[in-house]
């Protein structure tokens, strides 16, 4: 069967695409039950309320990021290089696990030491469904949204919930 993700022609009946690892189980079953189509899920991310992200250099201290997150009531900061390309994110979860949990001094630790490198990003033209997948299945609470290589905003799980339920 043809993998819907990469187009590789797999032997019938395999559970995972041999080329890209996509889960193929169930895709070749007839019918597939009731499929609910929802136009909301196709909305490009540029139409959602994106927040203006807090941005730091990797050499900034964790404490500076913490203060900025407190001031703005945000759960994450983005880390960019000199060319302003996104190279990492530092979230409230990273603060708990890598700073509070491991006992690193936030006044001397640099963001580059405790950030998550090469974060998952989405593009402004990507559908909301992809963000839902990243948030629901992978558990990301904050997604950097790019236009090409340019960072344009932060999509939070809170905003997505409000949007889905018609309150945004």
């Amino acid at each position: 069967m043809i993998c819907p993700a990469c187009g590789y022609d797999n032997i019938d009946g395999v559970d995972l695409c041999e080329n890209c690892g996509m889960d193929l189980a169930g895709l070749d079953l007839p019918g597939g039950g009731e499929v609910i189509q929802n136009p909301l899920f196709k909305k490009p991310l540029r139409e959602l309320p994106l927040k203006d992200p807090i941005v730091f250099a990797p050499s900034a201290k964790v404490l500076e990021a913490v203060q900025a997150m407190r001031d703005r009531d945000d759960g994450c900061v983005f880390v960019t290089d000199k060319a302003r390309r996104l190279i990492g994110v530092f979230t409230e979860r990273d603060l708990v696990v890598r700073v509070a949990g491991r006992g690193r001094n936030p006044a001397t630790t640099q963001l580059g030491e405790v950030m998550t490198h090469d974060p998952v990003t989405l593009q402004v033209g990507d559908p909301l469904a992809w963000a839902l997948h990243r948030m629901g299945v992978d558990g990301h609470r904050h997604l950097p949204i790019l236009d090409g290589e340019k960072l344009v905003g932060l999509l939070s799980v809170r905003q997505v919930m409000r949007y889905l339920t018609g309150e945004a």
Partner: protein, 162 residues
């Protein structure tokens, strides 16, 4: 009303499957709470009295907002701080017989991403996070949200099969 709101109204929290709530006694230290936040993977820890009634919650956001700077990176200082000094008291709770729609309303209204779930006797029965609701919704729309390339962007940078 959109189809998503309708699905949320027709589903009760108890139909969601396990929604574990990592919990600690109310006299726990901040250090114990931090360790359980790390291990629990639920974004929050619930504090209970001797009869398993929820009396407080500490989320990762609360750690960011309320833990004093000198204790943030110092386990010895975290030992000295009672969790009750930094937790949110009387957390927003919801009976597990309520709908997901009601849960989302409460989250939107209070600005919290987590609700403490109570059973029929008011005891701690779970923790519901915004993420759980989103995951539930993606499960309802598998064709639209699950059949994605496993590494979204990366798969499309170069033409396949060339």
């Amino acid at each position: 009303m959109n189809v998503i709101a309708r699905i949320l109204q027709e589903t009760t929290i108890s139909q969601m499957g396990p929604l574990p709530a990592p919990s600690l006694p109310e006299d726990a230290t901040l250090r114990q709470a931090v360790e359980l936040l790390v291990r629990g993977h639920r974004g929050g820890v619930v504090f209970v009295d001797g009869e398993n009634n929820p009396i407080g919650i500490l989320s990762e956001r609360d750690v960011l907002r309320r833990v004093p700077e000198n204790a943030l990176g110092d386990p010895a200082e975290q030992e000295k701080i009672p969790a009750r000094d930094v937790m949110t008291r009387d957390p927003v709770t919801i009976p597990r017989t309520d709908s997901l729609f009601r849960a989302v309303q409460l989250m939107n209204e209070h600005g919290y991403r987590r609700l403490v779930i109570r059973d029929d006797e008011g005891k701690l029965a779970g923790l519901l996070a915004t993420r759980d609701v989103i995951q539930f919704l993606t499960d309802q729309f598998p064709d639209e949200t699950v059949n994605l390339p496993p590494r979204l962007r990366q798969e499309f940078r170069t033409p396949e099969g060339g």
